[in-house]
């Protein structure tokens, strides 16, 4: 009975323990083999519909939604329905996981060995595990780990196996499949594979979304995917891919599930296995193709010391409470249930969920007080952000923010509206760079004002902002954190104004900007090495495209970039205003606020 489960006491086996537990400690003392063969009895979802992986396939293929799309596709393309259905079946074969406990046990054995060599410790917050154990029983769970390394998802499955939690099915990129054996091994440990791009392919999308939703609806297993899509090269959180989030939220919106729990998981490394690869990639050397031989060659990483690894399981976020009062589920009442085409998008909520997720993690990191991390200003930013976990990077900034005290007796007054305008401009400019919820500008601004006021940095009145004496250096620090981005974007805009000709193609853009930045650095005119990062350059281009400074024109099969020099110039001017004394105070505070808002 549903009511019983809700009221039942917590799992009696679990004792509440605070903080992190090093899971390797125990492993070092006992047999790996026995561990791999131990009795595994996971906690199960109370509404579980027992079903095998093979049954899953037929449920998906028979589902109303897929049948509907198959008919639609067949009438559009003129192919026979049987052919389209066959195609759907093939897509599903290519995609589906074949979770097997024996493979998981094999991995558990191997990973035990590997982890013990690689890491000094693997720390997990047990409280989070307990919360997850609770959440898993009540509603279907979606795990949202951060993605920094190939290690991430092996680690997740390993941990869930260890804590007797149901093994997740993991959305993985198709590129793994090109690895011999390994791809299949991953498949048997619960990975299912999706193509990197299938934008226009209706059938593929239908199969994929129905597959995920079916697993969710039946409570088959927790679903795990990486919101960031790809591994974050700079360790800064990436703008999330919300497509999958939409899919997992839909069963709730349509009333097929009472609720869905999103569980953010943060995985931080003191050193990432792929660190040198990442740095190279950012400087323009393409990512090596995933291959089994590559993996074997990478054995040497086993001999190095990668320090500690921290895994933090966040608080489950209930989709129901997240969207309460914001989405009227009854809007689905008038459509047939198989139809998902005309339905309202919920991206905004997906984004909110993600923001909550990152905020949670920040809170955690600052609570844990990551020692030994400081923000090395003088050094190239690339290396610094590499050593810090992306989240830690943010929290380090916050610690500085609270720690700095200055005694200069400098007072400055700015007009509130000016500051807000600057703030809004930055928000617009950097919306590809940081995760921001569209439309929340005023709210963010107010929050930032509030926080700065609380710290005694600012006094905000109705029309004016007064900087306090002690706050100046705090502001200076905060704005300097943002400085690399500002400079980087300025470099890109200067490049666009000064160096481009008519026929700049999209492909040439990144290397050309890199060369331009390199020249500036060698000439000593630029101190900011971050301008070399291809991530930043891509984001800047996207921002200029969005703000109509650049537009794409398709010529033949090439995409060229047409620069509107006037617009780019004025954007650059605004970016550059921070150097002008008269604007400095407004800028300073708006940047500080922006910094806080993100």
């Amino acid at each position: 009975m549903a009511s019983r489960a809700l009221y039942s006491p917590r799992h009696p086996m679990l004792k509440k323990r605070d903080g992190f537990e090093d899971i390797l400690e125990e492993r070092r003392r006992s047999s790996d083999l026995r561990y791999a063969l131990r009795c595994y009895t996971p906690t199960l979802y109370k509404g579980l519909v027992p079903c095998k992986a093979s049954m899953l396939k037929s449920i998906v293929l028979q589902s109303d939604h897929l049948q509907y799309v198959i008919k639609q596709v067949s009438s559009e393309s003129g192919d026979r329905t049987e052919c389209v259905a066959e195609e759907a079946s093939l897509i599903l074969d290519e995609m589906a996981h074949r979770l097997q406990l024996s493979t998981v046990r094999f991995f558990a054995f191997m990973l035990n060995k590997a982890f013990k060599r690689l890491f000094r410790s693997v720390c997990v917050n047990e409280e989070g595990i307990q919360r997850l154990q609770q959440a898993v029983q009540e509603h279907p769970v979606v795990l949202l780990p951060s993605h920094r390394s190939y290690m991430d998802f092996l680690m997740m499955s390993y941990l869930l196996y260890m804590y007797d939690l149901p093994l997740p099915v993991i959305a993985a990129g198709m590129d793994f499949m090109s690895m011999k054996f390994v791809g299949e091994m991953l498949r048997m440990s619960g990975a299912f594979f999706i193509r990197r791009s299938f934008g226009g392919d209706k059938l593929y999308w239908a199969v994929f979304s129905e597959y995920v939703k079916t697993m969710l609806r039946n409570g088959y297993a927790p679903i795990e995917f990486f919101l960031e899509g790809t591994r974050s090269r700079t360790c800064k959180s990436l703008t999330p891919k919300t497509g999958l989030l939409n899919i997992v939220m839909e069963p709730f919106f349509k009333g097929e599930l009472f609720d869905v729990n999103l569980v953010p998981v943060s995985i931080s490394y003191e050193r990432i296995l792929e660190e040198s690869l990442y740095a190279r990639e950012l400087l323009g050397i393409p990512k090596p193709k995933e291959s089994t031989s590559g993996l074997l060659k990478a054995r040497r990483v086993l001999s190095e010391d990668y320090g500690s690894m921290y895994v933090y399981f966040g608080h489950p976020v209930s989709v129901r409470s997240l969207t309460e009062g914001k989405i009227t589920r009854s809007q689905y009442n008038l459509l047939p249930r198989y139809d998902t085409c005309n339905q309202p998008r919920s991206e905004c909520f997906a984004l909110k969920a993600y923001i909550i997720h990152t905020k949670h993690l920040n809170v955690f990191l600052s609570q844990q007080g990551f020692k030994g991390f400081c923000f090395p200003f003088g050094e190239p930013c690339l290396s610094s952000s590499r050593t810090l976990g992306g989240q830690a990077w943010r929290s380090a900034r916050r610690q500085f923010f609270s720690g700095l005290v200055d005694f200069t007796n400098h007072k400055a007054i700015c007009v509130l509206d000016d500051v807000y305008n600057c703030f809004n401009f930055l928000r617009n400019m950097f919306s590809n760079e940081f995760i921001l919820c569209p439309g929340d500008s005023v709210q963010d601004f107010e929050e930032a004002c509030y926080l700065l006021m609380k710290r005694g940095v600012l006094q905000v009145s109705e029309h004016e902002i007064v900087m306090s004496a002690s706050g100046h250096s705090t502001l200076a620090f905060l704005s300097s954190v943002l400085d690399p981005f500002l400079q980087g974007y300025q470099v890109v805009s200067r490049y666009l104004c000064e160096e481009t000709n008519e026929n700049l193609t999209e492909k040439e853009f990144i290397p050309a900007v890199r060369n331009f930045a390199l020249k500036l650095i060698l000439a000593g005119r630029l101190k900011c090495y971050e301008a070399l990062s291809s991530d930043l350059q891509k984001n800047a281009l996207a921002a200029f495209l969005r703000l109509k400074g650049v537009r794409k024109v398709k010529v033949g099969d090439q995409v060229t970039l047409k620069v509107n020099k006037i617009a780019v110039n004025s954007l650059e001017d605004t970016l550059g205003k921070s150097d002008v004394i008269s604007y400095q105070n407004s800028w300073c505070s708006s940047m500080a606020m922006f910094e806080i808002a993100i």
């Binding site: 549903a2 009333g255 589920r329």
Partner: protein, 581 residues
Amino acid sequence: VCFESSPTAGARSLSLRQEIMKWNGWGYSDSRFLFNKKGQAEFTGKRYRLSGLILPSLKDWFEGTFGANLQHRSPATPSLNLSAVAPPNLNQPFVEDLKAAGLAVSHDPEDRVFRAHGHCLHEVFALREGRIGRVPDMVVWPSCHSDVEKIVELACKHNVCLIPYGGGTSVSSALECPREETRSIVSLDTSQMSRILWIDEKNLTAHVEAGIIGQDLERQLNERGYCTGHEPDSMEFSSLGGWVATRASGMKKNIYGNIEDLVVHIKMVTPRGVIEKSCLGPRMSTGPDIHHFILGSEGTLGVVTEVTLKIRPIPEYQKYGSVVFPNFQQGVACLREVARQRCAPASIRLMDNEQFQFGEFCFSLILLNFFLLKNFCFKGFDPQHLCVATLLFEGDRGKVLQHEKQVYDIAAKFGGLAAGEDNGQRGYMLTFVIAYLRDLGMDYYVIGESFETSVPWDRVLDLCRNVKERIVRECKERGVQCPPLSTSRVTQTYDAGACVYFYFAFNYRGLSDPVHVYEQVEHAAREEILANGGSLSHHHGVGKLRKEWMKESVSGVGLGMLKSVKEYVDPQNIFGNRNLL
């Protein structure tokens, strides 16, 4: 069910019903559940088949389900405290004119209190605590259509508020006197208009005064060899006029139809005059059907005085039945298939596992004998998931048997096993006594209520699950100590969907304002129903309880249309019960 025969309308005193019925609970005063000295439950009186029976295991179920304890009693105030009733605000000229016209009136507090409420939980709870809110200032008993015309005319003349009263079984706060009403409120009791005026055997119609109570109508027609076949669960107490005013639905609607299918002609007195059609044609294309302004108007437009109904010869043969399904999903799938093939019996209802257990444990209603139980276990039936459908077939013998076979064949496809006639019959019997159970619960700190909705077939399961879960959750959040009873049943099938009933009850010990908690939970449950594609109401109506969702349910324009009808028909708001709009 054996109904007590009541005296014929002419000889009846004005408040006879009131004398044999509880003033602060459901049904007849002599029929109630109680726990005797041995702690065994029994049902008193002689009116029902269950009357006089001892139900030994009800106590265990009751204590186990609600965490209640027979030591912890919450008895009702034994009798009405007359001093708690505010003195009547009479409109003297109106009273004089009524008396001059020879109409029976009363401003006796008991008469007024009896007509001031329906059977919503908060209404009954307040009565049990002896709290009396605003009550009508007087009661008037018209005895025929022309009396009603006179009353309405005088009400318009003297600007008093009229609230029509039929059987008093409303569960939508429809009978509550609006607090903001400053005029004299007059309860217009139709109980004296209870004659069958004529029966037309050629056309199979009967012309009946609207105050007649369901069981009287059925009994009197039966004496002539006919029936209406309209059997709402409240038919012992609810009136024909009330059915029309709320768009009632009967258990056997699959054969006879709901009230809107049964009426051929309606006469209603409004402040503008009498509204009726000019002939008894079975269907008309004369613009929007004016009957549909009346059906479901909930006493806001006027008083229904006379109704012409379809009647049918009493069926030759009746047979109950029941089917046990391995789980609720299978049961719903079976009902859906039955509806698809359009072969639903007169009644088909599907109880979920909680209700099955309730029936099983406390009444041994679903007497699964040992053989049967063993058989079920062998077939992989889990008592924690079992659910049961009860069936009622009607018609001529040969067809019933054929029909029965067809339905059981369908059930078998969904894993259903026939579980006997007796179980089916007991299931239906439970319908009439279940309302009495609430009063028992209220003696021991347990409050509860039922509510209903209608929903498309493909959303039935999701709706049931989500609403039940929402109830459990809301109760927990609001500090209810023990998990509530939260169960559902599918009670009607249609081509495009089903009617779903929810029963919900909890132990309120430790809560400072249980009724408020109850209302919040019910509110949340209704929100959940609407979010999952359910309707605001299938047959209980809107009243004042569900008014806030009307606009959302019928759109702003729809509500505007209804308002403009009200505006035209009753510009002075004489029928000022403020239901619906």
